[in-house]
Every structure is written in structure tokens, then in C-alpha cells.
Symmetry: C4
Subunit: 406 residues, 4 copies
């Protein structure tokens, strides 16, 4: 009844020990190490490993930041223990990732010439993982890890982007809207040059020191168009101030444009994911397993959205209400005998109602406001009567499932 | 005919004197005190009580603010009457809330170990209610309520969040979108460190006083990325200004990102609430009382949205138009004999049209632009013919209601 | 065939000379003067009148602005001709508006005690119209119209809000979202006080001159939270800068919140107006004139939205395609004999196709991308067969219309 | 099967060599030159031509910017080679565009009196193309191209707007929302004057040098309302700071308003384009070619949206699943014999399933998350049975197509 729980049981088994029965020899150490290394959303790795890597990044960054403070430099600059420790940990991580790269399914097929290790080396995270080891080399070579070397220490922060999974949504939205965003950045650049030239021509006489060339004037332009407004350069003449006011109004538009684009992009991406969810819901139901897209699309069309507040009885024990409820959002409680059972997002109940017209065996109550997708008996039966081969298929699945005795 | 009015009559009775008939002893003073204390949206409490508490908060805050002004300190510091008065009122409120905590249904079940009084003590409002009493203790102990003590005076403002009911919507949206918002804050932090390090390396030579370390440079970074732009630190070299301009453009993106996320979050939460409203509307109709989620979902699917401008006749007296109209938004007027009657959001009319096919008894006209949910006779009858047990149930409800003679 | 054209012919007749036949005496001068005075969207008034009023407002404001410039004061202060001229024009306008107030339908019923003239006097525009006459009184009494009197000159700008009709949409959105916007302003206020108090406690020692009290610190708070950032006050200590950075991040949220609320509000209001438009479209069709809300809601449900690019043939002469097309947006061209005819937003064609199954008499082509609402013959006939009394009614209307020979 | 590929083959033929057979003489050089000149989205022109023009614009702008730098002026001012080179290239481009104007379909019918060359001359791009040639004239006449002449050099950037195709979407949104945006700009102007007047009256005494007149105070107003905040003028008195704080809050609203309007505008425009896409999809199918708008609208209503994740089998070889799939977004792979074939946005498959009920000839799998529009057999057949003349038409098209043996 709970799809997700099953999925959880299966999921690690699939990713870690794939093809367990067939290739016993694949139980190498490399697989275990790869399984422990945290990577992306699907493969979270060992918790202590993630904590170690994140701690190391924070330590390296903090050291770099503090080394730059003049008051602390006498104490920090001499101290090479921490940078060396961080650096060697980064190096170990890089070597492990390079070694286990063949286990990673993401790297497959991007650069077939380079192989998987090569693909890792030229990937964004591979480059970062390598670059953060650079300071250690210099320290070992006797240089101080200050100046431009400190940039390599700070770059290690990009390693953290592996763990912020919501970044993927943000990235998708920006990628989808990149053309429109680019157009607004280009418009900004165009207006920046033209407005700055005009202001240079107007203000040059009054403030020859500040507005001494168009490139200088462009610094005023970008500071004003982005509404930052440092105040180190500002027009003083009347025509300059009128042009400045217009520049500010345009600047508001330059703020409004990307915001509007991104807001629409988020709304659109969310809609796409909701559409995708419907497909996932229908195809995840054991009853509809193995149907092809055409039938799943037919069944999706029959689903009704139902939003129910908290503490409401959805179905009552003993009643003949016959529909399948799929939980999109929220939580319900089934009052089973020894202890009540909770179902969450991704679970469903009432499957039997569609197949056998018998009374409900338990009362189901919502715990939080819950959104369901409901498949009614009437719609389901009219679909089945129109499609005899779908009926045959579903009856086979059902009889098979009862034999397996859930 | 007006659901809301009835609900109003029932509502206070339910929350104040629940189980009136069964537990006569429950009419304790505690219940009455709890009923008077304002709390959240559902339980607004006595008006004068709310005015007293809000007035006390404003008085305490104003006193704290004025005490910090050097010119006023000779007069204010000596005066301990007002802080003591405010403090004792806060203390009384805290004691009353602690005493009546067992009456509050919200506190139920959060920390079962602590009991309800304990749950109140560790809840956000409980901590605030306690903290605002601290200055009084120090004043009684002979200290002046200045310095860090003044923070406790200001904290009392958080007590006001109990009365701003729209905060709940804002809070829900932020909670729903917290992962995406967090991702954009983390991105901001990452960019802040990297960009500040770069600018430090570029500008350190030109302005060693201002950009003297990476942490100092990060102050410039946050001031620029958030487009605040104090102007106390700004790059002067050409590469520094180019990097500064890029930082500002990224800053616009940093503004656009949370705005886009929150705008989508609001749109989404509104959609969820509209879905919930449909459920509430159908299940609130006396005709459909006691149906379970499956049927309510079926009936919801039959509702049509209808938006009508102001001053339009919706149904005419004597006509045979047969549909049930539910008011989602707006206002209508029924021309009844002694005085016309107004129906608002949450009311409905035309129920009889679904059950008995007789002419309308009164003309209904919109007063404002009104949005209806309409349940047509044809759809309703086709539903009933498909579901004989629903029909039986509805007929029972209807006959019971006519016997009760609305 | 063009509803709008007819409406245009009827509209002024209705508003200007209402009840022409019954009350011949009502052709007073007052009605004519009222018709000439511009007022709101529906009643635009005479063009030269609007130009005169707008010109007068701009003249009065410009005079006030220039009078405040010290260099110009010797020349301007003595000159009382322009202020007197503007003032007397304002006075004439006020008197005319007061006199014609009984003609205005908007003022009806707001304050029944005061009557219509009284309602005008206490309305927003009435107060503004009166206030702008104040400077003239002082000038006639021998005072110079400088100092606080100049505010009255500037207030005349509010008279312009009568002519910006899109303001109504903006106003509606803000009114709809006022509770949520209020909540975010209150949150801002709360955070302002708490954050400013903290920064005062932190920075007071380091900069006792700048952060000398909490109210002074609040000036920094509001300047930072709104991301204005003058730079006249800014923290210099490390804890102060950390708190400052957090304040800026919260400030971004304070910008994002109202933007998100208003964006959702605009989307919502647009949806409401689109729903309203469907009603208007169906009820404006001569065929469906006089139907009550129930039937219009039924017919609305049958409409399909169709978006067609420019330069596409919608219906071909001689074909039997049978549907009614209503133009929501865009423009089409009918190739009639002497000269082609253009139909725009609000027009419809193909009405005959629903009633008589005869070939199309002309080809219709889109000129711009056009959005239609289409009522298909099949849906229309299934509706009519379900509702015999609707059929009878429609046939009556149709026969009546053919007799009137469009 | 791939509509787009065919369209590509046809498209250049249509635009370049239109009416090839009939007017052989039209193969003039003018047509070839016009085809090489880049122009808008539909007619991209020759790649090297676009690179040359863009390079020339960048060169001209860079020269202008560098000429304004005082340090570089001795070297730059004397050098007239680059400006002359750029100018002559601009002149050649202008002449070519003027000469080939009669080939451009966009310029048709805007100003019928002027003809096509005249229309080009008065169009936005025509004016820009002419203006950028001005500096050359002055240089040839012996003047230095500095001062206000440098504006003409910068203006050449506007020529680039021809190549940023996403600007069209941004432009459409702004045009659609212009009334509401205008209303918010006017509101800003109104508030600017009123708030600045108030602050002038308050602050004039305390800072007579800074706030010396209302126009001076308006500079503060616009700097604050747009949240730029230079800090060159800021209130110091208590009432001035309270008004300043209110101005900042209003400024946040002034930022929120256009952002909200533009976000809604983008969402709306996207919806319009999606609606338009449905029309394009249905009318682009060979099966439905030549149907008029009424039938296309009927068929559109039968389409179901289906979103499928990556790596999912949509149809299986040998199955009887009978529906037509149209790809809205994403990519699928058909496992054909020699090499698999990929279909993208705009392609469709399964057409045969609608007409002949035979098993699928190949398996189709999604490569990316893909959005389909699905036309099911059941819906299609019920439509055909209702409309015998549509059936006849479709059968004719189908038999014709099989004869043409795709």
C-alpha cells in the first residue's frame, strides 16, 4: 500500500549493489567507497562523509579569510598546519572521486572519448575538486598561501553546491529563461552605454574631475541602473539630474524585468513538474503497471483533484464508496486494529474499491489539509468498457496481485 | 439560507461552552477568562482585552525608545512608574495565559511530555510573554532598565503578531518555499565570499585602508549585492569597477530570485486555498451534509464558476430556472416582502430548485460583481441517476430538512 | 453585427439624455454642462474641457515649483497673475462640479443624509477640488502664496487621477491585497524596531555621535531595510556589520514580499475580469438577450477558446462550417462586396450558422493574432434539446430579430 | 513525419526565390543582396554579414568610448582612420538596405504614401542606420568627432537590437501592459512632486543649502523613491526623517508595482502563445490540412496534455495502442532498423494509428522529459461520427497522402 516505503527498500539496493545476483565479483571496494561518497540528490552517500567534507570546506575557507586580516597575519601566515591538513583531505577526496568515477552514472556518455575518469576531470565539480588542491602544492614548495593563492581556498565553497538540492530547480528555471534574461542584460548594457555617454556630455563641464570620460561615466551608470547608488558620483546640473532621474526610472524597469521573467519561469517549471507528477502517480500504481503512455494519458484524464481540510473523514468503514484516492500532498490516518497507520505524499488507498464492490474495511481521516487525486468508479468503468484489451490487462494484473497476497 | 449567520451563532457556543449539556461543572472561571483572552484568528477574545494588551505593548516600546534618547534620559531614567506598570500588566497576562493553557486546543499534542502548560511555556508566544517581564524584575532589584535590558522592552512587539491574521498566509508561503529560498540565500553567501575575495585581491593595493582584508571586503560585497550601496567602500581601479559592475548585476539577480520564488509561492498557496474552498462549499450545504469525500469530489466536479457584474438579475421571480447558486465572492439582494435581504460570501440560494421543480419565489439581483459556483439541475440529475444510494441519502436529508421547516 | 458600434451610438444617448421622451424639461443647461465635464472612464466629457483642466493643473504646479527657487523668487513672488488665473479656473470648475453633482450617478447613495451635493463635497475629488482654491483666497487677502501654501498648489496634481483610467486596476489590486500588504508593512515595522535596537546597543560605543539613540538608529534601519542606503549612518564594528548584513538580507525579503503579493494580486484580478468577460460576451449576444444567469452559465460552459495567428482564413465563403465566433482580442476582415469590413474586440460573426444550416456568405480572415470564443453547433443543439423552454425563447428572439431585418 | 525539416527546406526557397517559375527576371542582384543582409528573426541573412556588421558596431562604439578618455586623447583624436572606416561601412550598409527595401515585406503598407524606401527611411532602424553615418561627414569636413558627435557613435549600438530576437517578447509584454505601467509611472511622478514639496517645507530651514527649492528637493525624491539613495541629500530633522521613511516605503511599492505588472504580463503573453501553439500544431498536421477554424477548434478540444519523464517507453512495437502523439517539448527516439531516429519539438508520430487499426511498427522512447499533446482514437472517432463531411474530407486527404507515399 505504501509505494514509497517499498521504493526506499529497493532504491539503495539498486544503486549500490546493482545486478547483485549476476556479478558477484562486482562487490569490490570501489563500489563501497563510491556508495559512501556523497553526490547529488539521488545518491546522498554516508552522513559522516558529508559532514567531514563540509567541515573541511568551511575550515579551509575560514582559514583563508582570517589569513587576509593584517592583525592576524603574524600568527596565521606562519601556521601551515591547517592549510596542509585541509589540502590533503581535499586531495584524498579528489583521488577517491577520480577512482570511483566509473561507478557514476551521470558521467556516462558526455565525452565518450575521454572515458568516465576523463569526463569527471573536465566536469565542473572535477575541476573544482582539483583546483582546491593547488594551495597545498605551493605551501609544500615553500610559498605562503596568500595573495592570489587565497582564491583557491575560497573556491572550495563551490564544492558545497553538490549538497543544496534545491539549486537544481533554480538552475533549471534560469536555463529555461536564459534567452529572455540575456535579452534584458543586453538591453541594460545598451542603455548603460547610451545613458552614460549622454551624462558624460552633460556633466563633463560641471564636474570634469568625476565625469572625466565615458568609461568613468559608465561606473555612475551601472551604479544607478542597478539602484545601488554609492553616491561617489552623481550629477549636479539640472539637465544631468533630469537624465539621472530618467536613468533611475529605467533602473526600476531593469529590476522589474528579470524579476518578472524569473517569476513566470518558476510558475512554468512548477506547472511542468505537476504535469509530470500526474504521469508518475498513475504509472506508479501497481494496477496500471506496464501500461503504455496512451492508456496512462487516458487514465490521467479521468483523475479529479480534491482538496480536503484537516481532521475530515475521507472514507468511512462499512460504506460502499468506491474510488481510489492518491495523496498528492498532506497526510491521512487509517484506524487499523493494533495501531493506526499514517499515509503520506505518494501513498494511495481504496484500490480494492475499483475492482471488488465490497464495503470499506477501515475509516480514513485526514491529519493535515490533504490534496488527493481521485479516480472514481464510474469513470473507470466507462473507460474499461470502451477498451476491452485494457480490461483484460488490468484483470491479469489484479489477479496476479491477489495471488501475491499483499 | 445563510450558512454563515448560523455558523456565527453556533461558533462561539462551540468554542466557549463546548459540551454544554454533558459537563455542567466545566463552567469554571478559567473557561471565561480563556474566552476573553485574544488568541489567533479563530478565537478573537474580548475587544477591550485586545485593546489593553496592544496599548500596553505600544506604551512599553515607546518608553524603551524614548529612554534611549540622551536629551530625555534625565527625565526618563528616573521614572520607573511606566516600566513597572507595563511589566506588571505583562506579568498578569502571562499568568492568565499559563493558567488557561489547558483550554487551548492548539497546544495539544506538540510536546506530550510537558503537558499543556509546559507546551505553552516552550512555545514561541510563551517565551516572548515571559521575556517581556524581565525588565520589571531588574527595576525592582534597583537596576536601571537601560542598555541591553531595553531589548526586552522592544521584544514585546512580537506579542502583536498574534493579532495580524494575514501573517499566517505570509508564514505559510515562506514555509512552503523555504528550501528554494534557502538555496538562493546559500548562493548569495557563496557568491559573496568569492566576489569579495576577488575584489580584495584587486583593490587591496589601491585602497589598502578600506579593503584591508577579505572580511572587510565582504562588507562591501553584501552592501553591493543587496543593492543597498552605502558608498563607504567602493572600488576605484578599472578591474575593480568591472568586477563591481558584475557584482551589481548579480545583485539584481539576487533580488529577482526570492521575489520570483515568493510570487510563485503566493500564487500556489492561493490555488490550494481555492481548491479547499470548493470542498468547504459543497460540504457546508445542508443538502450534502454527511456525504463522504468521494461523493463531495463527484459533486465538486459538476460545479461551474460564473462571474456576474453588479446590478444584474440572477434569477427572476416566477421563472423555472433550476440551479443552486453559491456565492464565492460579492453580494446579492433578494427582494423579499417587508425588506430586501442581502446574501454575501458563503451564502447560497436556489436549493429548492434542485429538489422540487417549482417556480422561483423571489427575484435575486447582484449588488457587486459576484462570483458564483453553480450546480445545474441537469448535471445534478445525471449524477443522482448514476448513484442510487446517493439519491436515497439526499432524499432523506431533504425530507428531514422540510420537516424542520427552515 | 457589430455590437460595440451600436453600444457607442446608444451609450451617450443614455447617459446624457436619459428618459428623453418622458421628461422633456430635463434638457436643462445643467445636463449639458455635466456632459462636458470630464469624469472617470465611462463619462469622458468634452476634449477641450479636459485639455483646459489638465493644462491649468500643470500651470499651477509649475508656478508653485518655480516660485520656490530662490533665484527666481524676485521675479515670481511679485507676479500674482498666474496663481490668480489658475485659482479662478479651479474655482469655476469646483462650482460647476458642485452644481452638476445631482447628475452624477456615482455619488448616489454613499451618504444619503448629505444629498448628492454634500456627497460630492465629502468625496476625495470634492475635497481636492475645494483645497486647490485656497491659495487664491490668501493671495486676494494680500499674503504671498509661498511656504506651506505652496502645498495647496501641488495638491492640484491629484485632480489628474480622474484621467488615468488604469489607476482603477492598480487601486483594485491594492484594495484586494490590503490585508496581506498591511501584514508585510507591520512585519517591516516590527523588524525595524528590533533590529535598530540591537544595532544601537552594538554601535553606540563605537559611534556615539551617529547612533546616539534608538530613534536615530531607526533611521539607519529604515534606510537599510528598504535598500536605499544613503550611507550617512553605517555600522563600523564587526558585530554591527554582521547584524547590518543580516538586516540587508531581510531587506531583500521585505522587497520580495510586497512584489510577490502584488504580482499574485494582478494575476488574480485579471482572472476575475476574464471570467466577467465571458458573462458579458454571452449576455451581449442578441440571441441570448434576456436569459437569466442560469442559462448564461450553461452557455458559457459550452464556449471554446481558440487562438488563431494573423492572416488565416477562419471561415470560407460557401462552406457549411456552423459555429458562432466571438472576438475576444485581435481583428478580422470580412471580404464584403464594395469594401472589406473589419471586426474588432467585442464583435461576433456566424450567428446565422447556429440557427439556419446554410452556407457561409463571406470569407473571414484574421488581420492580427486573434482570440475567439467559439460556440459550436453540436454543443448548442445538445443544450437546446435538453432545455425545451430555452429553445422556445431563443426561437422567439430569432424570429423577432429576422423581422427587424438586421 | 518531420514537419520542421520540410519547413526548413521550403522556407528559404519561399523567401529568397519566391515565384521562381513565373518571374524569371526577378533573379536580380537586389534579391541576392537582400537575402544576405541580416534582418529580424525570420530572415537571418548571411552569417559573415552579421559578424561584419556586429564587429563594426563594436569597433565604432569602442573607439568612441576610448576617444573620451583624456589620457588617450592625444593618440586617439588624431587618428581618423578607424572612424572613417566604420563610417564608410555604415554608409554602405545603409545604402544597401535602402536599395533592397522593396524586397522587405515588413515595410509594406505602413506609410503607403512614402513607398517602401520611404517607409524604411522613417522606420526606427532606418533613422538609426542614417544617423550613425553622421560622424563621418563631420570628420571629412575637418571637425574632430568628439563632444556631442560621440553620441552618434554610441547610437550604433541600437543596430544590434535587430539580432536579439528575445527582445520581441519583452517588447510585446511592455506594449501589452503599457497603460498599467504608465499609470504607475504617473503615480510615481505625482507622489514625487507632493512628497518633495512636503520635505522641502520641512527641511528647508535645517539645510537651506541642500533643500533650497522644490526642484532641488525633487532630486532627493527621485533618488529615494527609486531606492538608489546616493546620500548627497538626506533629511536630518525628526519630521523630515519620518517623511523620508514613508517615502522609502512608498518607494518599495513603486518597485513592486511595475514588477508585479510585468510578471503578470509575461505569464499572460506566455498563455496566449501556448493557445496559439495548439492551433499551429493541429493545423500543421497533414491530416488536418485545409480544415477551417471551426473544425480545428473542435479537434483542439479533444487534445490531452501528457508529460512523460525521460527514458520511458511511449509506445511499444507490436501493440495496438492507437493515438497520435505530438511533441510540444522534449525529445523521443524511434528504434528504426539501420539507425534510431530522434524526433523533437514540432514533430509527431502515430498518425497511422488513427486511420488504420494496425499494430505499431516501432518502439518510441523518450530521451528527455517530454510534453505531448495526445489525440486519442475514441475521441477522434466520436468527432468523425458526428460530422460526416469532416470524415469525407479527412479520408480524401489520407488517401491522397498514401498515394504520395510518404
Amino acid at each position: 500500500m505504501t509505494l514509497k516505503r517499498r521504493a526506499k527498500l529497493r532504491a539503495p539496493a539498486t544503486s549500490q549493489h546493482k545486478n547483485l545476483g549476476t556479478h558477484m565479483a562486482a562487490f569490490t571496494m570501489r563500489k563501497q567507497v563510491y556508495a559512501a561518497l556523497p553526490e547529488g540528490e539521488e545518491h546522498r552517500g554516508a552522513r559522516w562523509m558529508a559532514a567531514l567534507i563540509i567541515g573541511n570546506v568551511i575550515l579551509a575557507t575560514a582559514t583563508t579569510l582570517l589569513q587576509s586580516v593584517p592583525e592576524l597575519q603574524p600568527h596565521m601566515a606562519a601556521n601551515t598546519t591547517i592549510p596542509l591538513l585541509c589540502g590533503s583531505l581535499f586531495l584524498v577526496e579528489f583521488c577517491l572521486r577520480l577512482w570511483t568515477a566509473p561507478e557514476c552514472h551521470r558521467l556516462w556518455g558526455k565525452f565518450p572519448v575521454l572515458g568516465k575518469c576523463g569526463s569527471y576531470l573536465v566536469s565542473f565539480h572535477g575541476v573544482i575538486d582539483l583546483l582546491v588542491c593547488v594551495p597545498m602544492v605551493f605551501i609544500l614548495a615553500g610559498f605562503a598561501a596568500t595573495g592570489w593563492l587565497s582564491l583557491f581556498g575560497v573556491i572550495s565553497l563551490f564544492k558545497l553546491s553538490r549538497y543544496v538540492t534545491s539549486l537544481e530547480l533554480v538552475g533549471t528555471v534560469i536555463r529555461n529563461e536564459r534567452h529572455t534574461l540575456m535579452a534584458s542584460v543586453l538591453t541594460l548594457g545598451l542603455l548603460l552605454v547610451v545613458l552614460s555617454t549622454c551624462l558624460f556630455l552633460i556633466e563633463n563641464e560641471a564636474q570634469p574631475e568625476r565625469f572625466k570620460s565615458i568609461p568613468h561615466s559608465m561606473w555612475w551608470g551601472i551604479v544607478t541602473l542597478t539602484t545601488v547608488g554609492y553616491g561617489d558620483m552623481s550629477p549636479v546640473t539640472l539637465p544631468g539630474r533630469i537624465l539621472g532621474g530618467m536613468t533611475m526610472l529605467i533602473g526600476i524597469g531593469m529590476l522589474a524585468m528579470p524579476t518578472g521573467i524569473i517569476a513566470t519561469g518558476f510558475a512554468n517549471e512548477r506547472k511542468r513538474r505537476e504535469l509530470l507528477q500526474t504521469w508518475k502517480i498513475v504509472s506508479s500504481l501497481p494496477l496500471f503497471k506496464g501500461l503504455d503512455a496512451n492508456w496512462i494519458s487516458e487514465i490521467s484524464g479521468l483523475l479529479r483533484t480534491l482538496m480536503v481540510p484537516a481532521h475530515v473523514t475521507v472514507i468511512t468503514k462499512g460504506e460502499f464508496s468506491t474510488a481510489l484516492f492518491f495523496i498528492v500532498d498532506g497526510e491521512v490516518e487509517i484506524d487499523l486494529h493494533p495501531a493506526p497507520r499514517r499515509l503520506k505524499r505518494g501513498d494511495f488507498f481504496g484500490e480494492a474499491g475499483l475492482l471488488q464492490n465490497k464495503p470499506r474495511s477501515a475509516t480514513v481521516t485526514t491529519v493535515k489539509p490533504t490534496r488527493f487525486l481521485v479516480l472514481g468508479l464510474a469513470e473507470y468503468q466507462s473507460l474499461i468498457s470502451r477498451a476491452p484489451d485494457l480490461r483484460r490487462k488490468l484483470e491479469e494484473t489484479a489477479s496476479q496481485r491477489t495471488r501475491e497476497s499483499r
